[in-house]
Symmetry: C2
Subunit: 321 residues, 2 copies
Amino acid sequence: MRSFKDLVTDFGNHFAVRHFPEQPSSLYEPNEYFLSWGGKRIRPVMCLMGNELFDEIHADTWQLATAIELFHNFTLIHDDIMDQAPLRRGMETVHIRYGESTALLAGDVMLIRAYEYLNKINPQYLHRILSLFNTTAREVCEGQQLDMDFEKMESVSLDAYIQMISLKTSVLLAASLEMGAIIGGASEGNCRHLYDFGKNLGIAFQVQDDYLDAFGDPEKFGKDVGGDIRQNKKTFLLLHALEVATPDQRKELEKLMQQNPADKVERILAIFRDCNIDEWAKSLKDKYLQTALAHLDAIAVRSVRKEPLQELANFLIQREY
Amino acid sequence: MRSFKDLVTDFGNHFAVRHFPEQPSSLYEPNEYFLSWGGKRIRPVMCLMGNELFDEIHADTWQLATAIELFHNFTLIHDDIMDQAPLRRGMETVHIRYGESTALLAGDVMLIRAYEYLNKINPQYLHRILSLFNTTAREVCEGQQLDMDFEKMESVSLDAYIQMISLKTSVLLAASLEMGAIIGGASEGNCRHLYDFGKNLGIAFQVQDDYLDAFGDPEKFGKDVGGDIRQNKKTFLLLHALEVATPDQRKELEKLMQQNPADKVERILAIFRDCNIDEWAKSLKDKYLQTALAHLDAIAVRSVRKEPLQELANFLIQREY
């Protein structure tokens, strides 16, 4: 059994090959350009871990993990077009470098290429894996659409936001684990628990991400702290604050969001603190993390096999900040 | 055995159901809107005919035909974004009506939904069908990219243009027939001939389409005759004319394309006629049609079974105009 970090290295080596034909280069060079930036490779590694929780990693699981990583990159290329993002990881996005039409097509063939890797796995699993892959792929698109819808809406309930986050990011983490587990020979019940572990872990991660954007230590967090607040981005924190604020606090929040004063971030953070949003967010994150870990606990395999997934949870969710 | 026209009606009835979930309606309503316009349904019917050439139509073939039609509609939604087309069949395109981001996502889920229908077919065929479907899907994207590349290039060889047309439109016609034939139990050799029948028929159709746009009878053709010439579109006719014209004719052609005088269409048509482009196009179309029919002839089934495919060829390729 390999640790999470070892698997990241192993998958990185496995994936560092050309994935597209040479010609037409006007279509495939953008794909290779985008893939050459690397990435955290969390989803394919989760797939490998889902397999290794139950059995040695099969050759098929490497093909499946590759399909998952290509699918994830397809969503990134198309999301960058929709968000009109000029940069990703400091590099020019595909649509900026090669034009929107080519970026659209490059994303399309990235998705089709993912299905080509899926079709390399043993036919005995193909129907079941394809079924989960297809459902998940469609849910990720639904999540992206809901995210765009919510940005235009005046008010969004916390429940609706959690549903959107779940579709946009958590289901792919969950399905990556489960698809690996299917090849590892896991029972239906174990598959279910593993899926729910991944789904809840993903939500906990997103709550943490929203928390750190507002309350994180800029030196440790790296990212531009307060960025979500400056952009009036709908986050767990803002949606809950709008639900629990007094009428005066709510009015003040809405005024700050409309008028964008220079001290907007500090003043909104002060309201968040007055409403105990920081403590609420930590406890919400903990609630999802605990639910995730309870599902991991319920999986019927020797506990030593679960250690890499506990390591993954610790990597994704910092307990203290 | 059913005629081509009967199958068009049968497939139309079969396909006239909702193909997407209700929610989120902001994502799926655009898909249903686009599908509600109908269409010629040539590709799915070719899939049914490919099956019926060898055996009664299996239940699986209806699922496969649905997947093919959804795939074709995915390409139309994304092509309309790339071409910035405001209308299709007189209706507002998806990106005009719902915005580009939603159109992009609607196309993505249309493709994923196609794979969901593919996954309904019997696992015994799944790997082989998926393999041909994936290759074809990627080739269609390659054809679209080459088409965009060619529009920006000063000169394109006729061979390169035929290769582009083949990828952009013919391979899907060919693969639709072959995928149906696979389910119908056809041998590899018969599959190969049927594929080549479809591929050559598709090229003959495109040559005819280019011919009719220039030389067609406006009353019979329906479309805006001369549209390709007005837009300086690279067609079989223009590319061949640029290859065979005298230096003076070539200079005149280039001048007309740059300056767009009011009588541009008539003057370019006059050069086409001087260069015998009309006769050349008819003989090119006949060459591909004859090659297609020779492949149909070579398929080892009783000739009465081939009648619907001959009817299809006659429907697509008019012998006289």
